[in-house]
């Protein structure tokens, strides 16, 4: 994240408050996450311009930023240290005094300096929305389960993290996002908390390919079973099923196992289908006897065809 807020908004250091507002609005309309769903780049860019705007649109913060640059957040400490040095000769406020210079800045001033103007007509501020990713394997997306998430809160010097426990619903898709209301940043002045958006990254399964609620897999079939028919065991996501193979089954034959696919998101008890494609494995390393039998088979088939 660039430390030069003026550069982030594409403005000279002499920009007026109106120019800052206009530049922010213009860039926000381009990069706001609401207008660029699922775009990580836009989200990052918006965070940059938002932070720049929060600081530069507030005269007090801007003054500190102009004076101290990227260390502007510590301006209070610098100022306080100066004041303490100067006031040691006088009585001083002592350890119980206000950390904001003898109470010159009340709570509301502090919040407005932290959060900028926003909807300036309103006293309440909604907390910041948090975004996080949760990586799952296919089994994790198959079953509804609870999982603990580490959520990064804040950025820069104020960065920290918190743990929350969420329910991962069965059937979530790769790159699907869910919103967890109220788990974002705390609201200000009685405003509501922000929300937490969790994006699931579902890793592919080594055996199954998933298309929505349906699963696809390839099952090897030996030549005698393909020719003469028989029974095979197939492993589905949660069990093993016995499949009857019809005689003279062709390579790439597809069979559907109804209800053996993936759970349908938020529709309990409903599942997609599992499609099994047979891959007939031709034998290799034939013994002399096997070769003899194949020759015999070929001659029978040639005679029949003649």
């Amino acid at each position: 994240m660039p430390t030069d807020y003026y550069q982030a908004l594409g403005l000279p250091r002499t920009a007026t408050a109106d120019e800052i507002k206009k530049a922010y609005r213009k860039l926000a309309r381009k990069h706001h996450p609401d207008l660029n769903p699922n775009s990580v780049d836009a989200k990052k860019k918006f965070q940059e311009i938002n932070e720049a705007n929060e600081v530069l649109s507030d005269p007090e913060s801007r003054k500190k930023y102009d004076a101290h640059g990227e260390q502007w957040k510590h301006a209070e400490q610098f100022e306080q240290a100066k004041r303490e040095q100067g006031s040691r000769a006088h009585s001083g406020s002592g350890p119980g005094g206000s950390p904001f210079g003898g109470g010159a800045m009340d709570e509301e001033d502090l919040f407005s300096s932290m959060f900028g103007r926003g909807r300036s007509r309103h006293a309440k501020f909604r907390g910041q929305d948090y975004q996080t990713e949760l990586r799952l394997d296919t089994d994790g997306a198959y079953r509804t389960h609870k999982q603990t998430l580490n959520v990064n809160t804040g950025s820069g010097a104020g960065a920290s993290s918190k743990q929350i426990r969420i329910t991962v619903p069965a059937g979530v898709e790769n790159e699907q996002s869910i919103r967890i209301p109220g788990q974002g940043g705390a609201g200000v002045n009685g405003g509501p908390n922000g929300d937490l958006y969790v994006t699931f990254i579902v890793a592919p399964h080594p055996r199954f390919k998933r298309v929505g609620k349906d699963l696809f897999m390839t099952q090897d079939l030996d030549l005698p079973t393909a020719m003469l028919g028989g029974e095979i065991m197939v492993e589905t996501m949660d069990s093993k099923v016995k499949l009857k193979v019809a005689p003279e089954t062709q390579n790439n034959t597809k069979v559907k196992l109804k209800g053996k696919g993936f759970p349908v998101y938020k529709q309990e008890g409903q599942f997609g289908d599992l499609y099994v494609t047979y891959n007939v494995k031709l034998p290799t390393g034939l013994s002399e006897r096997e070769q003899e039998l194949f020759r015999e088979l070929a001659s029978i088939r040639n005679t029949a065809a003649a």
């Binding site: 706001h32 609401d34 909807r119 909604r126």
Partner: protein
Amino acid sequence: MTTAQRITVEVFATHQGVDITFVHALHERGLIRITVLQEQHFLEPDELARIEQLARMHYDLDINLEGIEAICHLLDRMDVAQREAQVLRERLGLYEVEE
């Protein structure tokens, strides 16, 4: 759904710091649903996130209602296109041979 599970337009507007007329204007344009029960106007809980999103567009980004309406249509189309692309990517994966 009972009224206890719904939120009134007035409460939502006060809580979010938006004008009540803005919420009604969204409803008039067909962008959100408002249910009237016993002469009170209620919002649907599953639409609150969307209404908050539209409020951000209006109040934070200074986009007027006509602009919001156009953006909503485009976002809906984008959502459909993204879902289609996702399904097509998954289908394409069926034909990819792993090395």
